[in-house]
């Protein structure tokens, strides 16, 4: 099953390499948000764009990996199911989960590229890691793991609905309440009650806290534990549901 997943991941990578366009969504959107927020609101929210950049960047890192996982993974799965490519594989002695795992694995490369680009742009704008390189690497790694775990939500939607429009809508809209309904853009204290309540229970808040802790200093252990826990929950619930739903297609 591992060999099959890798072979299928290799296929997806070759496809991505030949259609680099699919990488663009994942690259451009987070960078766009970073630039927009820093220069539009930076002065108003934090008094200086530089200070705001430091505050915002860890959250944008999470947004990047969540978006990278949401949009393209589900889409490529729907296309494969519609074109009969998956049927072909299913008629072979290939475990059903490796089909999904292969698609999701191939995305890890997309995450890495998106994260590297984001750090590059952040650096050019003046973002500086306030801790150390190891902590920054941990932040990037955790963000990717978290994006991976959440990507199973759209995989499930893809398997259940088999419709490109639905998948791109869900994949595009879902990150907003999840990622923006946190203290990413502005401290939770400034929010109306209902939004603050959501930000408090929102699992992505933990991810952003962890990211801030690792990149800027501050509490790390607690948020990281919560982030891993929630990532595990998403992976277990949506991953299992997606694979089960996929198996039941016969």
């Amino acid at each position: 099953m591992i060999a099959h997943s890798l072979a299928l991941a290799g296929r997806s990578l070759t496809k991505t390499r030949r259609n680099p366009g699919v990488l663009m969504d994942a690259l451009i959107l987070p960078v766009l948000f970073l630039v927009l927020f820093v220069y539009l609101f930076g002065g108003a929210v934090a008094g200086s764009t530089q200070e705001y950049l430091q505050y915002l960047f860890p959250g944008i890192l999470i947004l990047t990996t969540v978006l990278a996982g949401q949009i393209a993974t589900g889409m490529s799965i729907v296309v494969d199911m519609k074109k009969g490519v998956f049927d072909r594989f299913r008629s072979m002695p290939v475990s059903r989960s490796s089909l999904l795992v292969g698609s999701v694995l191939a995305d890890s490369v997309r995450y890495v590229i998106a994260v590297v680009v984001l750090f590059g742009v952040g650096y050019l704008l003046g973002f500086r890691v306030e801790t150390n390189a190891a902590a920054a690497a941990a932040a990037a790694g955790l963000a990717i793991a978290f994006g991976f775990a959440l990507s199973w939500i759209t995989v499930l939607v893809a398997v259940l609905l088999r419709d490109e429009t639905m998948v791109s809508t869900v994949g595009f809209l879902l990150p907003f309440p999840l990622v923006f309904g946190t203290s990413m853009v502005a401290p939770a204290e400034t929010m109306p009650d209902w939004l603050r309540t959501w930000a408090d229970v929102n699992p992505v808040s933990h991810a952003i806290d962890a990211s801030q802790g690792l990149l800027l200093g501050g509490p790390v252990a607690g948020p990281v534990a919560m982030m891993l826990l929630w990532g595990g929950v998403f992976l277990a619930v949506f991953g299992t549901a997606a694979v089960t739903a996929y198996r039941r297609l016969t």
Partner: protein, 313 residues
């Protein structure tokens, strides 16, 4: 007699639609079974069940002695499937497509490469091997698709309308390939909408309609059943149509079916009658622009099979 493909009373519904209303299909080892039926007859559904992609509602399907539901995993090792629409990956090259299938079948990398090369050669794709499949013509994609289902050296191959959309030259090429498969001992189940294709390839034909088998026979038997072949005569001078019809009637001993837009058609029992018609037309001085012996179309097959008096005496 053991059958390589043995289907009994298979049923499948999609909501209110009955796709299969209990069909039986049998194929002996190393033979080609043609499943002939119009759009929506249930051909694809039957193939998908046999290839373990769909679960039947009822009945039994056994492939190579294995039940397609209970022993699905083992069945997948022995069958190759070429679906109705080409499913090769357009972003990958011909070689990459086939090597991927080899890897998924647990072949070592070298062996996967070697098999890919052999198959590409065999299907006349060696030159295009390094190009992306998106640059292939329809015929090349079909061939690559068929090659992909042979990577695992399956003993049973399912082909769903393998020549639909191919031009006559490419179709003949595909026919030769399919026949060579059976000659090598592979059992082939192929679906088609054309009696001509079933006649050219199949050892036996099952005609299905609305999810039921309405006839099963050898091609010769089936042609007998549906009234054999049809002679088509189109005189150059439309005024001679009646004369031509008279000649055809005398030779065949049957009334002509219809005289429409200057074309005379009538059933003929054997080729000798056809030769006689040719001869008589020449003697009568009736020049023709079209003179052919053709197999009944699917429409005519169905008309004949569903007409009570068509049952042979």
């Amino acid at each position: 007699m053991t059958y390589t493909i043995d289907v009994e009373g298979l049923t499948k519904s999609f909501g209110p639609t009955t796709a299969l209303a209990g069909i039986d299909l049998q194929a002996r080892p190393g033979t080609v079974l043609g499943v002939l039926g119009p759009n929506g007859a249930g051909k694809t559904t039957a193939i998908r069940i046999l290839a373990t992609l769909l679960r039947p509602d009822g009945g039994r399907a056994v492939v190579d002695g294995l039940d397609v539901v209970r022993d699905a995993v083992e069945v997948r090792r022995r069958v190759g499937l070429t679906g109705q629409y080409a499913t090769v990956d357009e972003d990958l090259t011909g070689t990459e497509n086939l090597v991927l299938f080899g890897r998924l079948l647990d072949l070592p990398r070298d062996e996967a490469r070697a098999r890919a090369r052999r198959l590409l050669d065999r299907f006349g794709l060696a030159e295009a091997a390094g190009r992306r499949a998106s640059t292939y013509s329809g015929g090349m994609r079909r061939r690559l698709d068929l090659a992909a289902s042979l990577v695992g050296d399956p003993s049973i191959v399912f082909l769903d309308e393998p020549t639909t959309g191919l031009d006559p030259g490419k179709r003949d090429e595909m026919w030769r390939t399919i026949r060579s498969l059976a000659d090598d001992g592979t059992t082939v189940l192929l679906t088609t909408q054309y009696l001509e294709e079933a006649d050219a390839l199949a050892d036996e034909i099952s005609v299905i309609d609305h999810g039921r088998v309405i006839a099963h026979d050898t091609p010769a038997g089936l042609k007998q059943l549906v009234g054999g072949q049809t002679v088509v005569v189109r005189p150059r001078d439309p005024d001679l149509t009646t004369a031509a019809a008279g000649i055809v009637e005398r030779s065949t001993g049957h009334e002509v079916d219809r005289v429409r837009r200057g074309v005379v058609t009538a059933p003929v029992a054997d080729e000798r009658t056809f030769t006689e018609i040719v001869h008589e037309l020449e003697r009568g001085g009736v020049a023709v622009t079209e003179l052919a012996l053709r197999l009944p179309s699917l429409d005519e097959v169905f008309a004949a099979l569903t007409r009570p008096e068509a049952v042979p005496a």
